[in-house]
């Protein structure tokens, strides 16, 4: 399940690039037929860099300049139904404006790949990182994958294309990385050669396409009560299938790159007594804290979710069963709910198991508020008390670092 480093079977180049530049590079290497996108902070540099590739003629992509994200996703849906390989990117309010098209893309079973560079939702208006944008879209029938680093953002882009187009999935995939933290910081990472990526993603051969005029068909028809429900069931099954497909494609990718990703990453979790669950860039900070506390002899670990939709409930419950206490840190709040989205999924995953840890919920870093090692140490301090049998020192869900 954990991310493992094995020997790569192909030559790679080490680059110094921002996460967004890495995503644009992956898009260039995939060379999609159509990109319909609208710039929005902090995603802008992906579309800027990709527009450069288009202008310089290094890709064959039809780049559609649209007037809004509503139009961007509409253009992507049309192009994908036509039979094209389609990609786009967005953030925050852009994703919000795509709202009605998101579930149309998934229901029409169109394998569109989209970056959502995580940014808080207005209001108040804010351009910095939290996960409220993509978490709001968690029930839209898209596969959702989170990345911690520029390396993962790059790798996930290439893997996502294969997952989306897999015959057992045929659903759009949304890939996330943290706005500014991962998107704009220059990171050192390894990239595959163009030819290797081209071979890995292969040629997209649609099984149904509007441009196949010899076989005319209707996309997106009205479905009355006798038909709608069965389509939703088919989507649920396909999304569940994505779990195995993500593992299979990630394994194949691991053979090429030496980087094999699982459904989630376990960091020093095997013999841990307490652990933190956190996704995105904060997992990097949490690893630093885990190492620091391990040096002091504390049995601490980390679980970093990668796949959020479909949520790997059974696998995660299994990976957490030996722990005494777990803290789930959410970079978004589900206001009015018992806690953040990851917290609720983890708790639900554990409820029907016999051997399960105590679960404590935390919300952190909303609107780009910095989350340093000290905050994560506080969380581990709380868990230690719970593990010792003391009463949980906080409410069910704590808003970490908020000024009272």
């Amino acid at each position: 399940m954990a991310t493992t480093a094995n020997k790569a079977t192909t030559k790679q180049t080490t680059v110094a690039m921002t996460g967004n530049a890495g995503c644009a590079l992956a898009m260039k290497q995939i060379n999609p037929d159509v990109v319909g996108a609208y710039p929005i902070t902090p995603q802008t540099t992906i579309v800027e860099e990709f527009a450069n590739y288009v202008a310089n003629g290094v890709v064959d992509t039809e780049y559609i300049n649209v007037e809004s994200e509503h139009s961007a996703m509409s253009a992507c849906i049309g192009a994908s139904a036509a039979g094209a390989r389609v990609m786009t990117t967005t953030s925050s309010q852009g994703l919000a404006l795509m709202w009605e098209e998101l579930s149309i893309a998934s229901a029409m079973r169109l394998p569109i790949v989209m970056h959502n560079v995580n940014r808080s939702l207005s209001g108040p208006i804010n351009i910095h990182c939290d996960h409220s944008d993509s978490m709001g879209a968690r029930d839209m029938g898209w596969v959702q994958m989170f990345g911690e680093t520029a390396q993962e953002a790059y790798d996930n882009t290439i893997i996502a294309m294969r997952v989306a187009e897999h015959e057992k999935v045929m659903l759009p995939v949304m890939i996330m990385h943290d706005g500014f933290i991962t998107s704009h910081a220059i990171d050192r990472f390894d990239v595959l050669d163009d030819e290797v990526v081209k071979k890995f993603v292969g040629e997209y051969v649609p099984k149904r396409a509007l441009l196949d005029t010899d076989n005319p068909m209707t996309f997106g028809p009205f479905a009355m009560p006798p038909y709608y429900y069965e389509q939703r069931k088919a989507m649920r099954v396909a999304l569940e299938n994505a779990k195995d497909v993500v593992l299979k494609v990630s394994k194949e990718y691991g053979k090429l790159s030496g980087r094999t990703y699982g459904l989630f990453e376990e960091y020093r979790l095997d013999d841990a007594h307490i652990a933190v669950i956190v996704l995105g860039s904060t997992a990097g900070t949490a690893k630093y804290v885990v190492d620091k506390l391990r040096d002091k002899g504390m049995k601490v670990g980390l679980l970093k979710p990668r796949l959020f939709r479909p949520f790997p409930s059974a696998e995660m419950a299994d990976a957490l069963s030996h722990l005494k206490a777990v803290a789930v840190m959410d970079r978004s709040d589900s206001i009015g709910a018992p806690g953040g989205p990851v917290y609720m999924e983890v708790k639900a995953a554990l409820y029907n198991t016999t051997k399960r840890p105590h679960v404590q919920g935390y919300v952190y870093g909303l609107g780009g508020r910095d989350t340093g090692p000290d905050q994560i140490e506080t969380v581990f301090g709380d868990l230690q008390k719970v593990a010792r049998g003391e009463e949980a020192p906080r409410e069910a869900v704590t808003l970490l670092g908020v000024k009272e």
């Binding site: 169109l110 028809p221 069965e230 389509q231 069931k233």
Partner: protein, 111 residues
Amino acid sequence: MSKTKIKTQTKWNIKGIENWGWKKHPLGATIPEAGNAADYKTGGWRSNRPIWDEEKCTNCLICWINCPDSSIRVKDEKWDSFDYDHCKGCGICANVCPTKAITMVEEGGEK
């Protein structure tokens, strides 16, 4: 875009579709056959039915041009019949008829 020939169904058999399980429906609710909307009978929506008077009809076919549901059948350039499986009873045909050869009567009423 792939140049590979795409294989799809030519005639879509929708027998018993109301009771199909989720696996039997085409991916993403696509309809893999052109023009099969004709198989979907919508005439049941109608509350008023058009009737035709052969004596008054001059076969000008203005009704045929104006019918929004293609529910006026023409044979050998002459008025033939109403397609009651698809006619919604909107009354446009009766309204545009210059010789009042088409009149609307209540469904379930006198023929």
